[in-house]
Symmetry: C2
Subunit: 708 residues, 2 copies
């Protein structure tokens, strides 16, 4: 493949090479398909059918069209490949092996479905492993990830490329099956990608018309090509996706050359081709059985007694790809070198972004103090973060259509949009913009943000924003971000019943229980502006962890005792007392309630209460036992009561009783909602007092959590 | 309106009446719009813009086209109306008032955004209130609910209607805004409704091209009409949706007459019409301000000093609707009477379904015992429930494309499909079928099931099925079912890491924490077939509660100590011991682990352990303190250890320590995954023994939960 010395985006066509090597295609396709059959047969499980059906697509991609470097898998300007139908992972693993990725040895390839603990072939692709761009499996996520990857390219290109120096020019390729086109998150992302005119994105549809339940026409009879066109995509059909490598290469090259739209390539394939269950749902998720595999080998002129055969012809077919990749990388390195010489400042910034570094002084951008007047913590979030977002271009800040509510707009922000866009509300787009109007698409917002974050470690730090309750819509994507160790920060506002009139559909009673349990995710509820600063610092320092910063719609008193560095410890003492009868745990928007109750307990009952602020359970769990005991002091026999208008689940670890909510919310103005649920100082004080009395009388016991 | 004596589906056109009353339209429209402005202005909040823009649509619907009975709001064959853009609830509340719904008094109407605790005008429509079919608010849900409502009609009609006796013939109307057409759940439902050719469903698009962030072209520039056509819908345009009542009525009547497709009516409207912010995002979610409201009144010739004015002309315009409704109801009652006379058995069954009753002997259909061989609890689910599903037609059983995995197919099941469908896998459809292939659309599956359940109380009991992990995709809809007190049962399989090779994307470490915290939802993990029977009985008896029955992929030993009636109590003692040193809590797929550890503790360390089975926390919480203490015996100083390969969050209420997982899973075969995470009898026994030693030495304390 001829690669131009300057631009990497205008390589010559691979078609002459396709024709030159075409005599080998039949053999390589058969080898690949039999190998997949053997890999599933060895442990009697796995997903052979899709991988077999997609063989020719794989050859077109890895042998001819994709630009990547097997021996330098992190080559920055590589094409990104996303396997949204992740259960067909053997497809990808096998091509990684054949094209020369070093980690994917033959032994490793054969670890699929084994009990090898360090296998590189898990049941779905995982980002931790060489050559895998994103973890996929939950269907539809990959489509949205691919949109994010393509957006990352567009943004970097708009920011850094200069005439003759296209330092970022890669293409994103996404394989999907029938299912990804049914899932809502995929449909949201498709609509959004069409709007953004991402011509550097190609979705390749493995159209085998089979899902687990049978033929797709059981559940879906839409005209997918017309639907994609309506969403603003180019559509290319490939009729013979099983054998027509040249036709697929032509389609892929046409897609890469697309001027103003993403491209959808509708490739007709046959699931489980040449097996007894070819074209049937049975080919999807089970090995074919030894007799059928043997039969397939005989039919193709292979020895049925030999397994895992990769012929010399096949090895040779792929053998120059590592060298091609290194050459690609070397040309790019030279390009970046020349670029950095000509544009030294940009070059330095580009290197910094590639290293995933923030400017060292980023923390100085956060105000050292805040207005004393009551402030909604969603507003505090803006005070804390918007100066950072404005100054540091690693941040892409998005919202699911709640710009007026979430306060994440910085002065002079520019929208990420296709440069030709002229909206009726007079916004002009620019791919260099970093504010993303995702539309009312919470799930795609978070899944696309995972794609932005996955482009390269910390090159982008995506921020999403919406009401906290709607992070239930986005939960599968938030989970995938945490699972992949991606630094994605979710600015969730309108938490707690204090959000008011919108009522029970919008009041997140039980949602925190999910996010407090979710591994590798920080769920932080700051209590005022100072703690909001702490929350953002914790989120920004967690380079391999996702964070939800959960803030209030309504104004909160600014407390003199709060400390931003306390947030980093998850919980800390706000008011200490030597001989306390009770510890009150305050959280987030209701933190001041704990202080109020403590004061009233003292005034009306002479009961001494100590107060702790507890913004983040996971950060607290990371502290030493000594620190934790020092904060909670439950080992000294002091009972703890948590005050939070959420389901109490999980607080039982830290408290003996809770003023919590175990039903859905109620539509009332915020203050009235607090009153309705008993969050008045007088009522809460009485409850705590009663609880202490019951403890004393032996009617309640520590260790038996009590809902007050 | 002339209503035929036999069929209620072929009413004469309302157009003559429209023309007769058309002189009043302008006045009524203005009155309505000013009333909305006043209702938002009184408490300085709410969502006026959309309701104002949709005024003419409302007149077309409630005055002319919809068939309903304001004084008999539960009239069974009424048209169903769903406000998917639920924030515009004043639109619906005001028409409920004007058309004569008794509960919606003028005083109640004015309670919108007040602090009145018993208000019928919450911030979003709530199913508990007269005239509201489903609770909406989270966007896109209503579209899917409407699909479910239309499916309910189709199923009942196919089952019960006879020539000349169309006892079920209602139409479902669904209002959507721009947002509902962006949300994934809406897009999934739209695609599925087109597939099902639901010609009794009309979606009316309030096309004002405005969302919170500004004009829709900021985020969405697709060709929505082309997209809907590609999905198999009729499309009708109405160019002047603000004033052209007649045009809207024509479109609605055309939609009702549609032969073989659902209909999408694209109505161009103007948000906040006639206000200073007309056509702008600012009209969406804030009152206009008193000066602007006064200005609007002046412009329309109303007195700016008068508020909440409903003129006599307006009252009169709607006044005959209650009588029309009662007449409709009476004709229908007569029809049903004649029908029951001619078809007594069907008639009796129809009455039983309308009363939401199951046949009294339903519990007898559950096997009294089960095979002793190890059985996956997903298979147990089928053994327990499929005989019921086969026999009782209240059950509609769906799956998100996991029929081969979830075991919910009964012998002779018929698919719910359009009768003309002939699939390539040779399935013939029938609207009387009760097995639903939802496609890979978990979210829509659950939201559509809410619609089925909302058709009338317990007339349908929908069952959904998928892998447990994918109930995270569906969580917003599961929540809406629980919030609405709908009896929907979710058969969730492949729970726990025991599901194996599919890996961390499919292993639900933290998901149970959400569902255990979610109000009005039973999350039940049965331990064997006997407990699976108990789980289904609990779910079926919970007439106003949603349930998730969470089962294993892999075979579980069948235990002699388990009891189906124990499940109803949430937890119960499996093995008692007077002088126990520890209580082991076993759960679901890992219940037998607790028994194994107890035995090994005794054999290797002489430690006496008692064992309890704990399938459902919420059911346990409903028991008396005495019962709970009797089961747990923690108040007697016996420490409890829970064994479950989930995040421990929430178990701290019942246990002092847990063998839990606080990271994501790992792709390994099921047994290897258990081993990898330390769920081997030997390892667990050692952990429990160590913990008891640490307790004895004072290194651990009860009340400080320990992760073993």
């Amino acid at each position: 493949m001829a690669i131009g010395p300057v631009s990497q985006s205008n390589g010559a066509s691979a078609l002459p090479l396709v024709r030159q090597l075409s005599n080998d295609h039949d053999h390589v396709l058969k080898t690949f398909r039999l190998l997949i059959s053997d890999l599933c047969q060895q442990f009697g499980g796995g997903h052979p059918g899709g991988a077999i059906g997609m063989a020719a697509i794989g050859i077109a991609l890895w042998r001819y069209v994709m630009r990547y470097a097997p021996h330098s898998p992190d080559y920055f300007n590589r094409d990104r490949f996303v396997l949204s139908n992740g259960h067909t992972c053997l497809f990808q693993y096998t091509f990684l092996h054949l094209t020369g990725y070093k980690a994917m040895t033959f032994e490793q390839l054969k670890s699929y479905h084994s009990d090898r603990v360090d296998a590189l072939c898990p049941g779905h692709p995982e980002i931790e492993h060489e050559g895998i761009e994103v973890t996929t499996g939950p269907l539809g996520q990959g489509v949205a990830n691919a949109v994010g990857l393509a957006m990352a390219t567009k943004n970097l290109a708009a920011k850094f490329n200069r005439p003759g120096y296209e330092v970022v020019s890669n293409h994103t390729w996404c394989m999907v099956g029938d299912a990804c086109l049914q899932e809502g998150v995929g449909l949201e992302a498709i609509s959004f990608a069409g709007h953004l005119k991402l011509n550097n994105l190609t979705v390749i549809y493995d159209n085998n018309q089979i899902t687990c339940d049978g033929s797709v026409d059981l559940t879906n009879t839409e005209d997918i090509n017309a639907k994609m066109r309506a969403c603003g995509w180019n559509v290319i059909d490939v009729e013979d996706g099983c054998y027509d490598v040249e036709g697929i290469v032509q389609a892929l090259e046409k897609a890469r050359a697309a001027q103003d739209k993403p491209t959808f390539i509708n490739v007709r394939t046959v699931i489980g081709l040449d097996s007894k269950v070819e074209g049937m749902a049975a080919a999807h998720g089970a090995a074919f059985g030894a007799p059928d595999v043997a039969e397939m080998k005989k039919k193709h002129g292979f020895n049925p007694d030999e397994h895992f055969v990769i012929s010399d012809v096949t090895r040779k077919f792929f053998q120059d790809l590592p060298a091609r990749g290194e050459s690609l990388l070397q040309q790019w390195n030279e390009l970046v070198e020349q670029y950095s010489a000509k544009y030294p400042e940009l070059g330095a910034e580009f290197q910094q972004r590639m290293r995933g570094e923030l400017p060292p002084n980023w923390k100085d951008l956060i105000p050292s103090s805040f207005p004393e007047k009551p402030t909604a913590s969603r507003a505090s979030s803006g005070l804390v973060f918007n100066p950072i977002a404005k100054a540091i271009e690693s941040f892409m800040v998005g919202t699911a259509d709640l710009s007026p509510s979430v306060n994440m707009i910085w002065p002079g922000k520019v929208d990420f949009q296709h440069p030709d866009l002229r909206t009726t509300c007079n916004i002009n787009g620019n791919y260099a913009g970093r504010y993303i109007h995702f539309g009312v698409r919470e799930h795609a917002m978070c899944a696309i943000s995972n794609g932005l974050a996955a482009f390269a470690p910390n090159t982008f730090i995506p921020i999403t924003s919406s009401f906290f309750m709607f992070y239930l819509y986005a939960a599968p994507a938030v989970r995938m971000g945490a699972l992949q160790h991606l630094q994605v920060i979710h600015a969730a506002t309108h938490d707690s019943i204090g959000m008011g009139e919108d009522g029970p559909t919008h009041q997140p009673i039980e949602l925190a229980a999910l996010y407090r349990a979710m591994p590798n995710l920080l769920y932080i509820r700051p209590g005022d502006s100072e703690e909001t600063a702490g929350a953002w610092i914790a989120a920004l320092e967690a380079k391999k962890t996702s964070t939800i910063i959960s803030t209030s719609r309504h104004a909160l008193p600014q407390l003199k005792q709060t400390r931003r560095d306390g947030v980093a410890q998850g919980a800390y003492v706000l008011e200490e007392a030597d001989h306390a009868a009770v510890t009150l745990i305050g959280v987030g928007a209701e933190l001041s309630f704990a202080l109020d109750v403590a004061q009233q307990l003292k005034e009306t009952k002479g009961v001494v209460a100590r107060v702790i602020s507890f913004p983040c359970q996971r950060l607290f769990e990371q502290q030493s036992l000594e620190y934790k005991r020092g904060v909670l002091r439950r080992h000294q026999g002091i009972p703890a009561v948590v005050i939070e208008p959420y389901a109490p689940n999980g607080w039982e670890r830290y408290a003996d009783a809770g003023i919590s909510i175990r039903r859905f919310g109620h539509s009332l103005p915020g203050k009235a909602a607090y009153k309705f649920f008993g969050y008045e100082t007088r009522v809460m004080t009485a409850k705590v007092g009663d609880y202490l009395d019951r403890l004393e009388r032996g009617e309640a016991q520590r260790g038996e959590f009590v809902d007050l």
